[in-house]
Symmetry: C2
Subunit: 494 residues, 2 copies
């Protein structure tokens, strides 16, 4: 019987083999096609490039997927759950910030960030950059532009790094005209990831590390760390510097600033020399489990997308919660709604301590003012001012990087818990000082419960500031853009 079956068995094996080999052929062909499509892009670029290419539009033909998704950062609907595509007014929802930043431009205007596409527009329009109709009316240095455009590395190359930083803000209005884009993170010749800003390279060097040795996966975080970090403007030359020489924790960076006796401004209410935290996103993320497990910024904020034969990174950088299927669920098998609630839970717990800290720190500033007004001496107030400085530094460090409550929930709780403690210690010390000067009981405080009341209390004439800004936007900014176009720096229609 075995012999009888042999003939059709042989043919079955033969036929089966043909089918398998055919399918294999199709798969291999598909793989080759995919590779060749990728290779063809790099071998047959329409626009050959080298150096720094500032105009993002030039990348559109060769890299349509990346370009279009970058351009989609124009839409930041997801971020602004408050009122559509507009920015959320943080001072309105947290009026205590007006008190914290009295004497500093942030007390005028502080709103949620929008996408990279809007970087320049939002910077020109904010009240924080003032209205320098003439050069000596500048309230900000050139350094402020550093993170906003690929024109920055171009200008630095043409004029020198230090000259960029020490310019006045308005000096560069017609120079820095293309918003954050391709050349900020890529070498246009090869499209390899590249660090374009000196501050990160210099910070690594001072730590004895060579950033050119970073792996591709590390670069997928480090290109973001060029800007999403804590920094300060060093010396009269306003040289952009990362305060990382003693380490990257909130205490390390405070120790660095303290050792230089550095402060960003003096709060005129409490007379405290204040450290303004920028957005230490890179530093705080490192304290959390995702970064510790090797997850890069791009893994969650620029997830891969497949379209046609091409897999590419989504350049519409935004909250990973906007498309959990391509972000969290790459690793986590839970339901999207469960994962979303896990994030919100972490944020809510941080916000709980943040709110308490904000309340106490606001009182500390105002009670310190009361103490000064009731005869407190410099010597008595010294420990109080130190506590307020420490408290506000912790509050700002923990809050300023919006993602931190999720990136490193427990570390942010630790930081905010310490800030809360310092604020209350300050209030306790003030209570003892005013008691010595004859005042007992609760210190009477002004009503600063809304943004408007708080801004009025610190002496800001907001109507005047806004009117001036509008006049600046209507008259000066069009001139900048006109000049940029005339000189061929700007090809995009604004």
């Amino acid at each position: 019987m075995a012999k009888k079956l042999k003939a059709w068995q042989g043919w079955l094996i033969y036929g089966g083999s043909l089918v398998v080999v055919f399918v294999l052929g199709i798969i291999v062909s598909s793989l080759i096609e995919r590779r060749s499509e990728v290779a063809s892009i790099f071998n047959n670029r329409q626009t050959k490039m080298s150096g720094i290419v500032t105009q993002n539009e030039k990348f559109k033909v060769d890299f349509p997927n990346e370009y279009e998704s970058w351009k989609a950062t124009e839409d930041t609907t997801f971020k602004s759950e408050f009122n559509g595509n507009a920015q959320h007014d943080d001072l309105a929802s947290h009026p205590a910030e007006v008190i914290f930043w009295a004497g500093y431009a942030f007390s005028r205007d502080y709103a949620s960030p929008r996408g990279h596409y809007h970087a320049l527009e939002d910077m020109r329009n904010t009240l924080r950059t003032g209205t320098p109709f003439t050069r000596d009316q500048n309230i900000q240095p050139g350094t402020c532009w550093t993170c906003k455009s690929p024109d920055v590395p171009r200008y630095m190359k043409e004029h020198g790094i230090a000259n960029f930083y020490k310019a006045k803000w308005s000096d560069l209005g017609a120079e820095i005209v293309n918003p954050i884009g391709c050349s900020d993170c890529h070498d246009p010749a090869t499209m390899n990831l590249r660090i374009s800003r000196p501050a990160l390279i210099e910070a690594f060097k001072r730590q004895g590390r060579d950033i050119t040795k970073a792996s591709q996966q590390e670069m997928r975080t480090l290109v973001c760390a060029q800007c999403h970090v804590e920094y300060y403007f060093k010396g009269d030359g306003k040289y952009l510097t990362f305060p990382w020489d003693k380490g990257l924790t909130v205490e390390n960076i405070e120790a660095y600033y303290d050792s230089l006796n550095y402060s960003d401004f003096v709060n005129p209410i409490s007379r405290t020399p204040i450290l303004k935290a920028q957005h230490p996103g890179y530093e705080t993320t490192r304290m959390g489990i995702h970064a510790q497990r090797g997850v890069s910024c791009a893994d969650c904020h620029m997830p891969y997308k497949s379209e046609g034969g091409i897999k590419y990174s989504d350049h519409q950088i935004m909250s990973p919660l906007a498309h959990i299927d391509r972000t969290c669920q790459t690793c986590h098998r839970q339901d999207a709604e469960v994962l979303r609630q896990n994030v919100y839970d972490r944020q809510r717990k941080c916000e709980e301590i943040r709110d308490k800290l904000e309340t106490e720190l606001c009182k500390a500033h105002l009670e310190a003012q009361f103490a000064w007004n009731h005869g407190a001496t410099q010597q008595e107030m010294q420990p109080v001012l130190k506590l307020i400085r420490q408290s506000q530094w912790r509050w700002d460090f923990g809050v300023a990087s919006h993602g931190a409550a999720f990136h490193a929930p427990q570390e942010i709780m630790r930081i905010l818990g310490n800030g809360l403690e310092r604020a209350l210690q300050a209030r306790l010390a003030i209570a003892k000082i005013v008691a010595k000067h004859g005042f007992t009981g609760d210190i009477p405080l002004p009503d600063v419960s809304t943004k408007e009341k708080a801004q009025k209390y610190i002496g800001l004439d907001m109507n005047k500031l806004r009117a001036e800004k509008q006049r600046f936007i209507n008259t000066i900014i069009p001139k900048w853009l006109q000049e940029a176009k005339a000189k061929g720096r700007l090809t995009r229609e604004m």
Copy 2:
């Protein structure tokens, strides 16, 4: 050519099939053998059992793996990194606890827990149970024994639940003699997991839930939740009750106690009605990601072991860090040392806020005492006492469950942060009160920086207490054990 190969091809298929079927046979046989070994245990038990079997030794022959690993809880070396197998003296490392628990037995003696095997021995020996040479010298009710022995459900069945709780502690000395073991969690007839304690069943019932509907995986947590929870002794009958009716968060349980105007004792230093948290391990674990992802207590604390043909749960319950290969690494692919450091990191951050809270709360108690001594009125002190009560409740809830800093790191930070805030608010309020009564400046505090100094400060004569306890251990306890043996309750040699 295809025709020529047919003969040996046929034989190849035939031979190959034989080999595959043979190997399959071996695998199936091995599976059946394994199953039959398991089945044989349950079908051929040497000791047929039913009801509650209090003597753990009786399970030794039929369940040697479970029994031997349970018996290994005699060794708690891993827990006691401080001094070998002895208990760690928590009051010595945190003298502030003596102040917190002034007027309560915990101020005499509070040490780290040892394994289940030592449950009764440690309870008899602690200074907290006192020295009831006579019945009216009891300082604890029968309820204290509830979690310590399978003799408890036996006694409850024989004499009624309420009669067990309302007994004096010493009434049950010769009754409760076998340490936590098999019948506490298992039905001896089937070895199915079973809830043996009424408080958990009753708490579920009051919430409208039926605990008999729990899945096997839920039971692997709920048998632990019979004891590793927050509870209190309700009313004169000292009826053991879980305060879960308003929910399981620290605020929910506080609201429950507040609604009953309940407190465990009044601290005589600050005159605060205090809530003593027990060990809300179940409640806090639920707030963390492991429980939220469906991980049970047993998954980490009783990991599976394979020996011979049998897979069984390790009953040497201890820290999962003692054998990371069988616990964390079941799910997490990181290096054991990395995982260990991840746990320690979380604990360190919690300890940082814990230490600050402890310092401030200790000062709050002592400063409140100063305020009372300097003419503060009941009305003035009322808000202060409320803050101290809230602060100490949060401190205790966050700290008393040793694993909580890992089980739910961010929730514990939230709880401790809130406790820290309340302690400082209390101190601020006190500063204002004493100022009104003419005292300004820092309140002078006694030196309570060691356990000895603190115990002396609260008026404890520790030498006398220890000597009395030793006399009690030498004279009364041997009588209890003798009686238990005579009545056949205790078969194990002590």
